[in-house]
Symmetry: C2
Subunit: 228 residues, 2 copies
């Protein structure tokens, strides 16, 4: 939004220095530090050090200060993870190519496993989400809504429509509400893992995580499988 004028030729496209673009370095560092320490504990100095930038540069890029920086990275991180989650969803549960009934459990399990991997891959993002939930009372409603709409709600809707597709083809029985089935699917595959691992802070042994994931998928299929 800021900085990039309207008709500059190729100037701002190339990173000024030989290094990485300072702006993205700051955003990445801020993601990590905000995720690790939370809004209050995170200090501008720490973010600057992590980004190998000076605090002054941060304030040049984000005139709104800490608050604007936080809003920006929440949005940025949500979009990034959302895209990754949607990619895995389309990869293992493409509404265009429904799986054979025999492969349904395999595909759901593959999706679940891929998502669990994302939880540790994007550890800092999910730490950030934890802090968002914890500090929900101190975050303006508009910011919360913008975040939900940029990330979680989109994913939820996509999973719901995938469930609807499976239902239409008779692979599962959504029992009237594809959205409800989607929510239950996500709850069953992730709740226990996230809780036991403190949202990835203390990762579980892989085989344990796998056991929980497949148990969740099997329970989901018993609850929503069309064959029963």
């Amino acid at each position: 939004m800021t900085g990039m004028g309207s008709e500059d030729k190729t100037r701002t496209a190339q990173p000024r220095r030989g290094r990485v673009d300072k702006a993205t370095a700051i955003v990445q560092a801020a993601c990590e530090v905000f995720g690790r320490d939370g809004y209050s504990r995170a200090s501008i100095d720490t973010i600057a050090a992590e980004a190998r930038a000076s605090t002054r540069t941060i304030y040049n890029h984000f005139p709104g200060g800490k608050e604007e920086l936080f809003r920006s990275i929440v949005q940025w991180s949500a979009e990034r993870v959302r895209d990754e989650q949607l990619a895995q969803l389309r990869r293992y549960l493409d509404p265009e190519r429904p799986p054979h009934p025999d492969d349904l459990e395999r595909d759901l399990l593959a999706l679940a496993r891929a998502w669990v991997v994302l939880i540790t891959d994007f550890r800092y993002h999910f730490s950030l989400v934890r802090h968002i939930y914890a500090e929900a009372g101190h975050i303006p409603a508009e910011v919360l809504d913008a975040w939900q709409e940029a990330g979680p709600r989109v994913v939820g809707r996509e999973v719901a429509s995938a469930m609807a597709a499976l239902g239409d083809r008779g692979l599962i029985d959504v029992h009237g509400s594809p959205a409800q089935a989607a929510a239950h699917f996500m709850a069953l595959i992730s709740t226990e893992i996230t809780q036991r691992s403190y949202w990835g802070v203390r990762p579980l042994p892989p085989e344990e995580a796998d056991r929980l994931t497949s148990a969740g998928v099997r329970a989901f299929l018993r609850a929503y499988g069309s064959a029963g």
Copy 2:
């Protein structure tokens, strides 16, 4: 833990002044403020004001300062809520008096509803839990373990043994792991509500919460009901 010694006559039993015991006033206020603001944002001055005490009194009762106060109230709050949850569990799912098969869904639903009510009743406690999860990386492992062992793990074990009892009597099929069934039950009845309501910060309309709860119970019974 403090205060109630073993052989004090009647001195510490009666509040010294005409008011409430300052210690419990401080603990309650600290619970509320820590839950609302989190560890870093919460200030001793705020807690003192909320407890109508002076900061000096706080340091007299908790020589360890902010850290000890936090540890104490985490433990205290966890025990209180645990007892409440166990009471509801025994009320609606007493292992000694298993329900008739026809009443199983009704009883499970009653338990689920009672627990959902607790989420808003003990709003500050669950806010505290959010912050614990968010700041897990900054809390000593021993404190985290002590908290889990004083609260969540006990409840989880009790629900698991209730599930085992239901399984033994053929009312449900635990599919090999009562603990897993318990975790799935709790996930199905509470995950969506807690997420959608931001853990009680923005409470859902009661009928909406009810809809989600009963949908969770029905899904659980489809996954774990012995009749299928």
